[in-house]
Structures are given as structure tokens and as C-alpha cells.
């Protein structure tokens, strides 16, 4: 006879590193129900409501990341005081010093937890030092909330925003549970003004929130997890075992997995926020519909790319000029690529020099064509943010390479526009030109995902080797037989992705008046579908590690 187990019950409330709290845990269902009841009951008492929100958010973080919740509180306290000090300070110099202190503190914490071992290993291999790597656990969400802290103090410094007057406002901005562990990266000036507004949301908000939550759950838990567990991981684990065809489909599969995983989780965050009366800007806009790489970056992980634009690209010169940072990172890149060509690709000094100079030419070409010196700096600034954007994902050469490839692609796209601008202006709007461009862009993005996902450089090159040298349609029959459900899932994912966003909104409007019973029924249909697909071990979201 099944019995209630008190011990197990109590354990549910304690952080379990193997099973961090995510939106798909049973515990979250209970957590959210209790929260919504309390939040609704105290909806008109802004102070109590805010404290309830802070407490639940911090507890959520504790269940997701353990005692690192202390880091969130300390970091909120520090930034709250420093930002207010910056705001009050009249002396420009002291103001600047305070800002530098804040940057030093935030970036310092991020560096300590995320990059210490990386730099130790670089030091060990370059300077033959013998530091042993440290046993540092990465606190979940640190990359996200550090960037939020930075944007906040920088905005205050720039006088673009009056800092939060109450500590709880700031703490809630930082710890707001829907986005704390995996973003999107929220800006204080968007968010804080929404904290103390009456809790009134429209029927449309309810429907939109519901749609975001359910579609996000389907993307993450059904499409992404299914493809990860049943196909993508097998191939990326040991690509040499599989033919080029299987490897190619694994790359397509991963393109879906990473999109559905991350955008699905973002959508759930957006949907929950919407239900609680907060509007957070979208993080993804059907990125694989992009017709070029520049457009891709306007549609992919928007909260990160816009952050990098506002707080990195513009300060280092943007499209106006180059700065010390521009040339520092550009030099690192060209020196690094030369070094990599000699050491990893084992090319001769002559060939490596030629390739590196070729790359340099690539970044200079647009301004040569346009006869405008500034263009070089713009391109190098773009390269810098792409390199740092890659590095943001983790202390790993693969991510830096991934960022570098995107930086190079942005430059190539510029050249392409300059060279073909007039020629293609007539065909630009034709469907076939768009189709070709979408296909080319998608394949380039897929190519870069190989480096992003593969465990190391050798695995990535093995995968490319298989796709290029061991490709045969002979295995299609066997492949189809083995993986037809996987292929069907991939097809569904691509078809869903192809639906224009405007269409989804139009359809949603029609459902606004749907009776509550129908919503509940849809929810339970999802629950059963999830039960059908659920894997034995939880598949942790990809961006949880960043």
C-alpha cells in the first residue's frame, strides 16, 4: 500500500544538486500555486506583495542553486548602495571611481567563478607555470545577473535612470524568479517601474501568457529533450561511429535543440512574468528565418546581443571609432588565429601568415570599398563583441571560436552587401532569393553550432570530416528506419518555426474568449503529452551552464 513519506516530503524543500528546481518540476507547480494565491491576496498591498515576491524568488534560487543564493543577496546589496552613491555623487571623478568599483566587483565575481581555471590552464601551458586548478562550482545564473547588475549601475552613471529607492525593489529586479537562472537579461529601466503597479492584467495578457508558457514547455520538454536524448547526444558523443548523413542530421537536430531549449525556457519566463503583470521584451524572434547573419543576431538571444551592443559595442567605439579595447582584442584575435593555425592546424608559418593577413584584409575590405577609414574600427568592434559574446558562454576555446566565426561572418556579410548591393536590389524581394539566403544563413549558423556543442575541437573536426568525407545516401534507408520518430519531430519543429510570428498573434486573439475549461483541458493535454515523452533523467537546460 503506498504511504505518505514524511522524510521524503521534508526533503522536497531542500536543495538537491542533482535535481535543481526548474519550471517543469512537480515542486514548481505547488510553489507557483502557493505563490499566486498569496500574490493575489496581497495584490493591493505593494509592500507585502513585494516582500512575498522577493522571498519566493530567493527560495526559488536556493532550490536551484543552493547557498549561492547568498551571492545574489550580497550582490544586490552592493549594487544597490553603489548605484545610489553614484547617483548622489556630484564629483565626476568620484562618480567614475564608484562605477569602476562596481564593474570591478561584478566582473570580478564572474571571473572568479567562471574563468579562474581557464586562465590557470592558459598560464600553465603558455608560461609553463604549475598552478593547480581550483575546485570552483559555477553558481547558476551568475552570467545573467552579473550583466543585469552592470547595466543597472552603468545606466545610473549615465544619468539615464534614477536608481531604485527601496532595497526590496532592487532585490526583486535582480532575483525575479522567472528569469533569475536562465535569463532573459532584463534591464532595470524596463523592469523596476513595473514593480509597484496595480496587479491588473487583461484577458489578452492571460491568453498570451498561457500561450508562451505552454509553447515554451512543449519546445523545451518535448521537442528539445526528445531530440537530445534520442539522437543528438548519441552522435555528438562519438561522431566517428556515424556516417556523414547521420552527423549532418545531428547538426540540424542540435540547431533545433538549442533553439527550443533556450527559447522555450525564455518563453516560459516571459509567460509567467506576463501573468504577474510584467512585460519582458522577447528574447527570440524565429532566428532561423533570418536572411543574413546580421539579421540573425537581431533575432537570436536578443537580450544578450542588445546588452553587448549598449554596454560594450558603443563604449568601445561602435561604428564611430576604434579604441584601445578595439585594437587590444583585435590584436589578440589575429595573434590567436595565427597561433591556432600553426599549433592546431599544423600549417606552415608562411600559410598561417597568409591566412591571418587574409582575415585582416577581410575586416578592412568594406572600408577599402567604401573609401571610409571608420569602417575598419566598426568591423573590429563587431568582432570584439562577438569574441566576448562567445566567451560569455563559458571558459572554453570552442565558444571563443564560435564567437570568432560569427564575427568573421558579420564582416563577410558587410562585404557581400557592398559588392552585390546594386545587383541584388531587384531580386532581393523575390521568394527564391530569400529562400536561398535563409538556407545559406541557417547552414552557416549550423556550422558554428558544431564548435559550440562539440566537447572539444577534435570532436568538432571529426564531425566535419564525417560530413565531408563519409557522406552517402546509401544509409538513408537504415537511418530512416532507426530514427523516423526523431525525423518526424525535427520536421514538426522546423514547420512550427516557419510560422510567421504575426500569424501566431492573430490566432491568439481569437482564443482570448475561450472558456476556462478549455484552458484547463489544454493544460492537461500537455501534462499527458509530457508524461508520454518524459525521459527518466532530467535533461538540464543548456543555458543553465552559462
Amino acid at each position: 500500500m503506498p504511504t505518505f513519506d514524511l522524510h521524503l516530503f521534508v526533503q522536497q524543500f531542500i536543495y538537491d544538486p542533482k535535481n535543481p528546481l526548474l519550471f517543469n518540476n512537480g515542486f514548481f507547480v505547488c510553489f507557483f500555486t502557493l505563490f499566486i494565491c498569496l500574490y493575489y491576496s496581497f495584490r493591493n498591498n505593494f509592500i507585502v506583495r513585494r516582500y512575498i515576491f522577493c522571498l519566493f524568488s530567493l527560495y526559488f534560487f536556493y532550490k536551484a542553486s543552493g547557498y549561492f543564493v547568498g551571492l545574489v543577496i550580497i550582490s544586490a546589496m552592493f549594487n544597490y548602495f553603489v548605484s545610489n552613491a553614484i547617483y548622489r555623487q556630484q564629483n565626476k571623478r568620484t562618480k567614475m571611481l564608484l562605477l569602476l568599483l562596481s564593474i570591478f566587483f561584478n566582473v570580478g565575481i564572474l571571473f572568479y567563478f567562471k574563468y579562474t581555471n581557464f586562465f590557470i590552464s592558459i598560464s600553465n601551458s603558455l608560461f609553463t607555470t604549475h598552478f593547480s586548478t581550483l575546485n570552483i562550482l559555477l553558481p547558476i545564473g551568475i552570467s545573467f545577473f552579473t550583466f543585469e547588475n552592470l547595466s543597472y549601475t552603468i545606466d545610473v552613471y549615465r544619468d539615464e535612470f534614477k536608481p531604485a529607492s527601496k532595497f526590496s525593489d532592487y532585490l526583486l529586479f535582480l532575483s525575479f524568479f522567472p528569469k533569475l537562472v536562465m535569463g532573459p537579461i532584463v534591464r532595470a529601466h524596463d523592469f523596476i517601474p513595473q514593480i509597484n503597479l496595480p496587479f491588473t492584467i487583461s484577458d489578452k495578457d492571460f491568453t498570451k501568457g498561457f500561450y508562451l508558457i505552454i509553447s515554451g514547455l512543449i519546445k523545451k520538454l518535448i521537442i528539445s529533450d526528445y531530440l537530445t536524448v534520442n539522437f543528438v547526444n548519441y552522435i555528438f558523443d562519438d561522431p566517428s561511429r556515424y556516417t556523414g548523413l547521420e552527423n549532418l542530421f545531428a547538426v540540424y537536430g542540435y540547431a533545433i535543440v538549442i533553439y527550443c531549449d533556450f527559447s522555450g525556457y525564455s518563453d516560459i519566463a516571459l509567460g509567467i512574468a506576463r501573468w504577474l503583470g510584467f512585460t519582458i521584451p522577447p528574447n527570440f524572434l524565429s532566428p532561423y528565418q533570418s536572411k543574413n547573419i546580421t539579421e540573425f543576431w537581431r533575432r537570436w538571444h536578443i537580450s544578450l546581443s542588445s546588452w553587448l551592443r549598449d554596454y560594450l559595442y558603443f563604449p568601445i567605439g561602435g561604428n564611430r571609432k576604434g579604441t584601445v579595447a578595439t585594437y587590444f582584442f583585435a590584436t589578440l584575435f589575429f595573434a590567436g588565429s595565427f597561433f591556432a593555425e600553426v599549433k592546431f592546424l599544423q600549417l606552415s608559418y608562411f600559410v598561417s601568415t597568409a591566412i591571418t593577413l587574409g582575415l585582416l584584409l577581410l575586416f578592412m575590405l568594406p572600408s577599402i570599398i567604401e573609401k571610409n577609414k571608420k569602417g575598419v574600427a566598426t568591423n573590429l568592434n563587431l568582432l570584439t563583441i562577438m569574441l566576448l559574446g562567445g566567451f560569455w558562454h563559458g571558459a572554453n576555446w570552442n565558444f571563443i571560436l564560435w564567437g570568432a566565426l560569427h564575427g568573421i561572418a558579420l564582416a563577410v556579410h558587410k562585404i557581400w552587401m557592398l559588392l552585390t548591393g546594386k545587383i541584388v536590389s531587384n531580386v532581393k524581394i523575390s521568394w527564391w532569393y530569400k529562400a536561398i539566403m535563409v538556407t545559406v544563413t541557417f547552414h552557416f549558423v549550423c556550422f558554428t553550432w558544431i564548435f559550440f556543442k562539440a566537447a572539444d575541437f577534435a570532436t568538432a573536426t571529426t564531425m566535419l570530416h564525417q560530413i565531408l568525407h563519409d557522406f552517402s545516401f546509401d544509409v538513408w534507408g537504415a537511418f530512416y528506419k532507426n530514427y523516423s520518430p526523431v525525423l518526424a519531430m525535427m520536421l514538426i519543429a522546423f514547420l512550427l518555426h516557419a510560422i510567421p510570428d504575426s500569424l501566431a498573434d492573430k490566432v491568439l486573439e481569437r482564443f482570448t474568449k475561450m472558456p476556462m475549461v478549455a484552458y484547463v483541458a489544454v493544460f492537461f493535454m500537455f501534462v499527458v503529452l509530457y508524461g508520454f515523452f518524459k525521459s527518466a533523467e532530467p535533461v538540464l537546460p543548456i543555458y543553465l551552464q552559462f
Binding site: 505518505f4 516530503f9 499566486i36 566517428s240
Partner: protein, 460 residues
């Protein structure tokens, strides 16, 4: 209703319904698989009722085959199969070597005699890409001498990524294999046969370290009724493949690569071979997805000709992982029933070779509680051992040697991982460990052999 009230109402009612269904399913004992996994209260409920006995999935009539009758032999004990790292011929005196005939040949090499000792290592995807055999070959050649990767098929149905050979080929090769329906022609031990219509293949052996060693390069092919012209390294060569199986040495020199061109598709081509003139060779015969019973498709006279033309001294037979294809299967008597005659046939045809049956490695399935070793793996290993016992062959328990129950789960989850997340295939790191374990087991047996020979012939 206002949006905010709708949120409250939706969340509240869904939660209550969800909780009620979850509780009801426990109270009434009613379970429905898709719901069971998402039951809201499953984490705080302890199930005290005895678990139902696993129901056997009986999908084929062979599952009802009675267990093979094992005839007890004096001084022999089947239970020895359970020991890890031991090559056993089931003789209760474990100080005696199991592979005496083969070890004598190894010993000849060790004591400076010039000869070839060849191992045929048969397997499924576990040894694909020269995994395991790569390590075994390397270690054996280091210990007993010899160079060369051995046999390499023209192409392969599955990925043929192997670091030990660098190959390229034209796309026109016709391929017949164990998987080709209604196959009538003679497939080689690799399970393949190729026909070229103006096709070429080029291979370079990447295993040879010693740049001064002479390498014998051979073409392995089937019967052709008259002398035929092929091209070796772009030069015309006339060969006369008048036996049903032929091993034709095309050159013996310092060259490590070879290019073959075949114009006539009536010549059955099996592959190329790279061997030094003396030493130990390991041929990898991997075929994805098979269980070993496929060799019933090759007839005895053909096998005997292979044994004459391309003699082997040790046959290693490692299958089983594809027999374990359903998580709940417990009964593998049917496998014994059909594998035994095949093993017997190979043993008879290759009469001068020792026969070593290697058990399956661990493989896991996803059960309700997570990944765990296949429920039936112990009984499969026992069945494999009993076949070896019955036909008077030797046995090596790879499953126990890699760590026994759930070792594949540990291998896949540790950092760096030793196995893939399919919980079936050790990766190259894991396969290297299996290769090393196997080599060490062989060396243990060899040490027993040398100790004995010292006793028998003290002046040796």
C-alpha cells in the same frame, strides 16, 4: 473575468485537479503509464507493495526454447565463466593456460622464430572503427613483434571512420553484405563482398611506426574463371584467382599504401591486407547490428578454404549486445540454440585455430528508476559461456572485466566519459581500456604457459 483573476482561477483549479488525480491514482491503484511519470505526488509517496514480477516479453516462438542441457565434464567447471580478467577453458586447475596451442605460437615469436600469428577478431559495433582491436594489436605487436593493420574491407555500410587506416575510394563499388536480401554469393568473414565497375580504392596503413619494415600488401578476393587484369598502384597486374577464396600478395616493400583498380564486376573483392612478414596480426571483422549467427550464411567449404589460404591462429568471437535489444528480455535460450551450430562450424573449419568466445560488454536500458544494466545481461553472459563450454572452446567475461552490473552507466557518466550516452558503446577511451584488459588477460594466460614450459623443459 479580469485577466488577473483568470490567472488565479486557472492555476488554482488546474492544481487542485492535478493533485486530486495524482492522489486518486495512488489510492485506487490505477496507473496509466504517461501519467505515472508526471504524477505530482510521486516524489513523496513510498510504495510498500511488493513489485510485480517482471513480465517477460515473449515476442518470438524461440523464446520458449528450453535451456540448453549442460553436460558436466570431469575436471571442468562452467562457473569459472564468472571470473573477471580470466581467459578460461573451464578447467578447474586455473594454473594451466587455456589457449595452449595459440600460446605456443606466440611463444615461438617471442623466442625469435619467424612466422605469422594471425588473430581474427569478430564483433559488432562494439569494435567498429578498429576500436578495442587497435589497442590489442598495438600491445601485442609491441610484445611479440609484427607490423601492419591486417585486413581492411573496401568500404563499409556504416561509418568507416578508423584512425588506423586512411582510405579513399570511388563511389561505384557494389556492395553485398549480411544485410542484403537473398544473398547467394560468398561473403567473406567481414560479412561483405564488393564488385568494382571501373572502381578504385586507396588505403594507407597508419599503424606502422618502424619505417624500415617490409610490408606485405595483399588482395583478398573470390573466384574468377581465368586470369584477370587489375591495376595495382596504376600499373596493370595479371592475377589468377582460381580458388573460391584467394589471398594474392601484390607487393612486399617499404610502401605503406596501396591503390587497387578493378574493371570487371565479376571479380568478388573482399579487401586489402597490410602485414609484415613475421609477427602477430589482428584482423578486425566488425559488422554493425549482428549477433554472430549470420555466419551460418557462409558455407563450410568456403570457410575451410579461407582457413587454408589465410590461416588464423585464434578466433575471437564477441557478440551479444544486439541480442539484448529489449529491456525486459531474460531468456536467451533461443540464442544458444542458433549460435551453437554456427560457433561449432567456425571452430571445425578453422581447426588449427583456438576459439575464444568473448561475452557482451555491459549495456543499459532506461527503466523507471533511470539507466541500469539490462535485466537479462547475466543470463545472456551465462548462455554465451555455456556455448563455449559445450563446444570445448575458451571464454572471456568482458562484462565482469569492465566492472559488471551498471558499469556502462558509470562509464558514460564519469568525467572524462568512457562510454557514450547511448549506454551501449564504450567510446575510444573506454574501448582502449577494454583492449588493454583483454591483452592483460591474454598475457596472464601466456605467463601460465611459460611457467609450465619452464617446468617441462627447464633448458628452454
Amino acid at each position: 473575468m479580469k485577466g488577473s483573476r483568470r490567472v488565479l482561477f486557472f492555476v488554482g483549479s488546474s492544481f487542485i485537479i492535478y493533485l486530486l488525480i495524482s492522489l486518486l491514482s495512488y489510492i485506487t491503484g490505477f496507473t496509466w503509464a504517461p501519467f505515472k511519470k508526471v504524477n505530482l505526488v510521486s516524489d513523496i509517496i513510498k510504495n510498500n507493495s511488493p513489485t510485480k514480477k517482471d513480465t517477460l516479453v515473449i515476442a518470438d516462438t524461440l523464446a520458449n526454447t528450453p535451456s540448453p542441457e549442460i553436460i558436466a565434464k570431469t575436471n571442468y567447471n562452467l562457473q569459472l565463466y564468472k571470473q573477471a580478467h580470466l581467459i578460461t577453458n573451464f578447467n578447474i586447475d586455473t594454473t594451466k593456460p587455456a589457449l595452449a596451442v595459440f600460446l605456443q605460437k606466440l611463444h615461438d615469436l617471442k623466442t625469435g622464430k619467424k612466422r605469422k600469428v594471425r588473430i581474427a577478431y569478430f564483433g559488432d559495433s562494439m569494435i567498429e572503427g578498429d576500436l578495442l582491436t587497435k589497442t590489442l594489436r598495438e600491445l601485442l605487436q609491441k610484445e611479440f613483434g609484427g607490423d601492419g593493420v591486417g585486413f581492411v574491407p573496401i568500404t563499409s555500410l556504416a561509418s568507416q571512420f578508423r584512425q588506423t587506416v586512411n582510405s579513399s575510394y570511388s563511389n561505384g563499388w557494389d556492395r553485398e553484405s549480411f544485410k542484403t536480401d537473398g544473398i547467394k554469393n560468398q561473403l567473406f568473414l567481414s560479412g561483405y563482398l564488393f564488385r568494382g565497375h571501373g572502381d578504385w580504392v586507396q588505403m594507407k596503413d597508419e599503424t606502422i611506426i618502424d619505417s624500415a619494415v617490409l610490408i606485405e600488401k595483399s588482395l583478398l578476393c573470390g573466384f574468377y574463371d581465368k586470369p584477370i587484369t587489375i591495376k595495382i598502384n596504376d600499373a596493370d597486374v595479371v592475377i589468377n584467382p582460381n580458388k573460391i577464396f584467394n589471398r594474392i600478395v601484390t607487393s612486399t616493400d617499404l610502401e605503406r599504401s596501396m591503390k587497387l583498380f578493378v574493371a570487371d564486376d565479376k571479380l568478388p573483392v573482399y579487401g586489402l591486407s597490410f602485414e609484415s612478414e613475421s609477427g602477430i596480426m589482428v584482423d578486425n571483422f566488425s559488422f554493425r547490428g549482428i549477433s554472430g549467427v549470420e555466419f551460418s550464411k557462409i558455407d563450410s567449404s568456403f570457410l575451410s578454404t579461407i582457413a587454408e589460404e589465410n590461416p588464423y591462429d585464434l578466433i575471437v568471437f564477441q557478440y551479444g549486445v544486439n541480442v539484448l535489444f529489449r529491456p525486459n528480455d531474460m531468456n536467451f535460450n533461443w540464442y544458444a540454440h542458433i549460435l551453437k551450430p554456427v560457433a561449432k562450424k567456425i571452430r571445425t573449419c578453422f581447426h588449427s585455430a583456438d576459439f575464444l568466445m568473448v561475452s557482451t560488454a555491459d549495456r543499459a536500458f532506461k527503466y523507471d528508476t533511470g539507466y541500469a544494466s539490462a535485466k537479462g545481461i547475466d543470463s545472456l553472459v551465462r548462455i554465451q559461456a555455456s556455448i563455449a563450454y559445450e563446444i570445448g572452446a575458451t571464454f572471456y567475461n568482458q562484462y565482469q572485466s569492465m566492472g559488471g552490473r551498471n558499469s556502462i552507466v558509470d562509464w558514460a557518466n564519469q568525467t572524462p566519459a568512457l562510454a557514450n550516452k547511448d549506454y551501449v558503446h564504450p567510446n575510444s577511451k573506454g574501448a582502449a581500456i577494454l583492449g588493454k584488459y583483454f591483452f592483460e588477460a591474454l598475457m596472464n594466460d601466456y605467463r601460465k604457459f611459460t611457467n609450465q614450459s619452464v617446468k617441462i623443459a627447464p633448458n628452454y
